[in-house]
């Protein structure tokens, strides 16, 4: 069973308590009306989809109910770190250099 740590509850919980929320740190355009269709499609659909570390949104839906962010390795499914929404994204390249698999 995959255990995920929730930064709000401060405990590890089984994966079934959580929901995946897609890639993190995608800002909604400040002026959506100024975007053309191509730019809007970029915002809506285009994601980085890396083979390696990815910052993602997760929600502890069957626990505290809160969203948080996590860095996960997309190949090994290993959670490298978790942090609350609003906190800065860790340096993924530095984490990768440190050998986070």
């Amino acid at each position: 069973m995959l255990l995920i740590s929730c930064p709000w509850c401060g405990v590890e919980r089984p994966e079934i308590e959580f929901r995946y929320g897609g890639e993190a740190h995608i800002d909604r355009p400040a002026q959506p009306a100024d975007l053309d269709d191509h730019q809007w499609a970029e915002f809506l659909y285009m994601r980085s989809n890396p083979k390696g570390l990815l910052a993602e949104r997760w929600r502890h839906v069957h626990g505290c109910g809160r969203f948080f962010n996590a860095v996960r390795h997309t190949v090994s499914d290993r959670f490298v770190c978790v942090y609350k929404t609003g906190e800065k994204c860790p340096d993924l390249e530095a984490l990768a250099r440190e050998g986070a698999q």
Partner: protein, 191 residues
């Protein structure tokens, strides 16, 4: 913390779900239940009016006599209150009084307060095998070192969402939604 005085066994027929020498599961008598959401300021005012302060620490519960405030999330609490007389009916007068008092105390500060007395039912799981029985469906470490007395959490009971509160070394309370209760009771009876 002693076993909470909040929950009394229900007096209705069929209230005893499981009755074995090493573990019993009993339906609890109805309580007044309120769902409260708001920031720390709102929670402080609500706690003063409710009679049991709303805990700010994760997974904490604050039982005070016949009141209890349970932490569910950083901005969400479940408030429980008993009227003192065990009956088959939800203590509506108490629920309405508490609602009015908390709403008045918090005033215009942004918050949400909902009476959910009819939404939940509680099951008291007690005995040396209580943790083992719950662990047939709850995927948490219920060892006292990992889940100490007084800890409360929302979690999953196989497919049903529950609030699990350890009120004693060998006593747990399962707060589940009324419509999930037959499912939860059935699995506990067969566990």
């Amino acid at each position: 913390m002693p076993d909470t005085a909040l929950y009394a066994p229900a007096t209705t027929e069929g209230a005893s779900v499981v009755s074995r020498p090493d573990v019993t599961v009993t339906r609890a008598a109805p309580l007044a239940r309120l769902a409260f959401r708001g920031d720390a300021t709102a929670a402080g005012k609500a706690g003063a009016a409710f009679g049991a302060s709303l805990p700010m620490a994760p997974l904490a519960a604050n039982p005070v006599g016949q009141r209890a405030a349970l932490w569910l999330g950083p901005d969400e609490w479940l408030l429980l209150a008993a009227s003192g007389t065990v009956g088959e009916e939800v203590p509506w007068a108490l629920a309405m009084t508490l609602c009015d008092e908390i709403a008045t105390a918090v005033g215009t500060h942004p918050h949400a307060l909902v009476d959910v007395s009819e939404r939940n039912v509680a099951l008291i799981v007690s005995g040396p095998r209580a943790a083992a029985l719950l662990n047939t469906q709850v995927f948490l470490d219920l060892d006292e070192g990992a889940f100490p007395v007084g800890q409360v959490t929302r979690t999953l009971f196989t497919k049903a969402e529950i609030v699990l509160w350890r009120t004693g070394p060998e006593t747990f309370v399962v707060e589940c939604w009324r419509s999930f209760a037959p499912y939860v009771e059935g699995l506990l009876a067969n566990g």
